[in-house]
């Protein structure tokens, strides 16, 4: 296995406090290598999305460490964390989450507005990202003018446009029909295999998980071994 790009050590996440305390993650340890395609699986409430959020820097752990490319993301200030997310993480959501008043091109351009690139440079990057996901002919379409699969591909282009270290996807096929889901998963697989992107997806669908090179299982906030037993 290559040098891990993500190192998770004794990661704990507790929601609430006192009698209503819920342990979403309990001493989770995980290494993810650069260029890996990992599927995080588990039933609802197992903590897989929470783990993904912490890796992506949109949530903070209660305890333990989450080191991504040598940076302990939990120790970053809110401003530094926002900059870090902009540069290192491309996030794909279950519900696409495109801005409805912006075209596909403008949605993909959004993360680039935070950089010092001029409009010509931004155009080059956006067109390349949309080309990569097969949406070059839908650039001027608003999200409502796109199908679910096309919306998700535009969201993947937005996640890719900054050329991030990690591409993370939370149930990326949850809102898609079988055909569109296959397209999106094949796209993620191609990005992993051909572009060498490190991809982490959260899913409870074994068919989706089959596209990944490795699967990690979570249950009640704990990481399971390959045979379903709890890791010691």
């Amino acid at each position: 296995m290559q040098e891990p790009i993500v190192q998770i050590r004794d990661l704990t996440k507790v929601y609430g406090h006192g009698e209503i305390e819920v342990k979403a993650l309990d001493c989770v340890n995980l290494d993810i290598a650069a260029g890996e395609f990992l599927a995080l699986m588990g039933p609802s409430g197992s903590g897989k999305s929470t783990l993904l959020h912490i890796i992506a820097g949109i949530d903070r752990p209660t305890g333990g460490r989450c080191i991504v490319q040598g940076t302990n993301v939990a120790e970053l200030s809110e401003t530094d964390l926002a900059d870090w997310r902009n540069t290192h993480v491309g996030f794909v959501f279950q519900t696409f989450n495109l801005i409805p008043v912006l075209t596909a091109f403008e949605n993909v351009e959004l993360p680039l507005l935070l950089t010092s690139l001029n409009s010509t440079e931004r155009r080059v990057h956006v067109e390349a990202a949309l080309e990569l996901v097969g949406l070059a002919d839908r650039m001027k379409h608003l999200p409502r003018q796109l199908s679910g699969g096309q919306e998700q591909r535009a969201a993947i282009a937005r996640a890719l446009v900054m050329d991030p270290t990690l591409l993370v996807a939370d149930e990326p096929t949850g809102n898609l029909d079988a055909h569109a889901a296959t397209d999106v998963l094949a796209l993620l697989q191609r990005l992993n295999q051909e572009a060498g992107k490190t991809v982490i997806i959260v899913t409870h669908d074994p068919k989706a998980a089959a596209y990944a090179r490795r699967t990690a299982h979570l249950e009640k906030g704990e990481m399971l071994n390959g045979d379903g037993s709890k890791r010691l």
Partner: protein, 382 residues
């Protein structure tokens, strides 16, 4: 696309709400500007270099008490006095009460337009006014209102004084930023009608220079101290402000209404912005997830709120300025309001209020958006 373009696109996403909000801000600030202009007119009489040279002497007790006309000789001999004119408010009725909302004054015909040199009368008309005891000079707006012509005869029925002067119009006066609805006639004629009682309402004095004004005020009042009719002498500005104080606490009244307008507007804009941002809490979370930090998010919200309020502000304040500049307020108010100039100060105040509204109404939505984590924002509508 640019960040400002993104802000505009967000602001325009609910056009009906945007238009209604902008219009409500515009109408409120139109009303605010109108009220502030009214207040400004009452509390900030025009101050010119000429006005700074003018002082008024009246009875110490009140404007309703009269002074002996003989005071004029003593005042005129005081160092620093250039001109002094008798000035008695006549308050007569022209035809009927409803049309008589303009003032008439008995004055010294040879001095009044030296003292109030902003009132421009042609030399020929002034000469004819001086020569004829029953002549009068009327303001240009008044002449236009009643369709009078030079040479027409007009009669005023006395209400305060027991006489009915019959006057011949011998000319008109005009002037920039002055009341053009007054009538001036000879004090000599008024005295004659009143049986030469030697009484006068007040004196208007023009000093030789602004430096001598404070000393002159003291000297005049000192000269008539311990007499039956002690005087109160003051600058033109102080004299005019006294009329405002006679109307009661108008300033407080207008100030209270203006505050209510601003506060109500703040509630409306704050509620609209909160609603607009709450509807987009998920999108705000997405922006955070893709790298927008707290100050950038706050900037987006502030800019949108500021844009809405300032658009309304510009429409309301500049709309008021343009409207009142083109409307014939004198005619529309039936002669009650001679002029209604919306000054740059009032427009600036209105725009400052709009700016404040924009900033204040963005505080709550910006704070709650920044406070919410990305995960909370994403879960909001899930």
């Amino acid at each position: 696309m640019t960040i400002p373009g993104f802000i505009v696109r967000n602001a325009l996403r609910n056009k009906r709400r945007l238009i209604l909000t902008v219009l409500s801000v515009a109408l409120s600030l139109f009303l605010f500007t109108t009220l502030q202009t009214a207040l400004h007119l009452m509390t900030h009489p025009p101050t010119t270099e000429e006005a700074a040279l003018r002082i008024a002497t009246r009875h110490r007790v009140s404007l309703a008490n009269v002074l002996p006309a003989k005071y004029q000789f003593r005042i005129e001999r005081m160092p620093g006095v250039r001109y002094c004119s008798k000035f008695t408010y006549f308050g007569g009725i022209y035809k009927d009460q409803s049309q008589s909302n303009f003032a008439q004054f008995a004055v010294d015909a040879d001095r009044i337009f030296r003292i109030f040199s902003e009132m421009v009368v042609s030399p020929r008309e002034e000469e004819e006014f001086r020569k004829e005891k029953t002549a009068c000079i009327v303001g240009a707006k008044l002449l236009e209102r009643f369709g009078w012509k030079v040479g027409d005869k007009i009669t005023f029925q006395g209400t305060i004084w027991g006489c009915d002067p019959e006057l011949t119009i011998r000319g008109t006066y005009r002037g920039q930023g002055i009341d053009e609805t007054l009538v001036f006639f000879h004090h000599d004629y008024f005295d004659e009608l009143m049986g030469d009682r030697g009484l006068v309402g007040a004196f208007w004095i023009k000093a030789g220079s602004a430096e001598v004004v404070p000393g002159l005020i003291e000297r005049i009042d000192a000269a008539f101290r311990n007499t039956d009719a002690e005087t109160k002498t003051e600058t033109e500005r102080a004299f005019q402000l006294e009329f405002v104080s006679m109307l009661g606490n108008v300033k407080l009244f207008i100030g209270s209404i203006s505050t209510v307008i601003v506060f109500t507007m703040l509630l409306v804009t704050a509620s609209t912005m909160s609603m607009a941002i709450r509807e987009r809490s998920r999108e705000m979370a997405i922006l955070k997830a893709i790298g927008f930090n707290a100050s950038e998010i706050a900037g987006l919200i502030l800019a949108e709120s500021f844009g809405q309020a300032m658009t309304g502000g510009l429409l309301g304040c500049l709309g008021a300025k343009l409207l009142f500049a083109h409307l014939d307020i004198y005619k529309l108010s039936g002669g009650n309001i001679p002029m209604f100039p919306v000054t740059a100060d009032v427009v600036a105040l209105g725009l400052l209020v709009a700016l404040g509204l924009g900033v204040a109404s963005s505080i709550v939505p910006a704070r709650s958006t920044i406070k919410a984590t990305v995960v909370e924002g994403l879960m909001e509508l899930d």
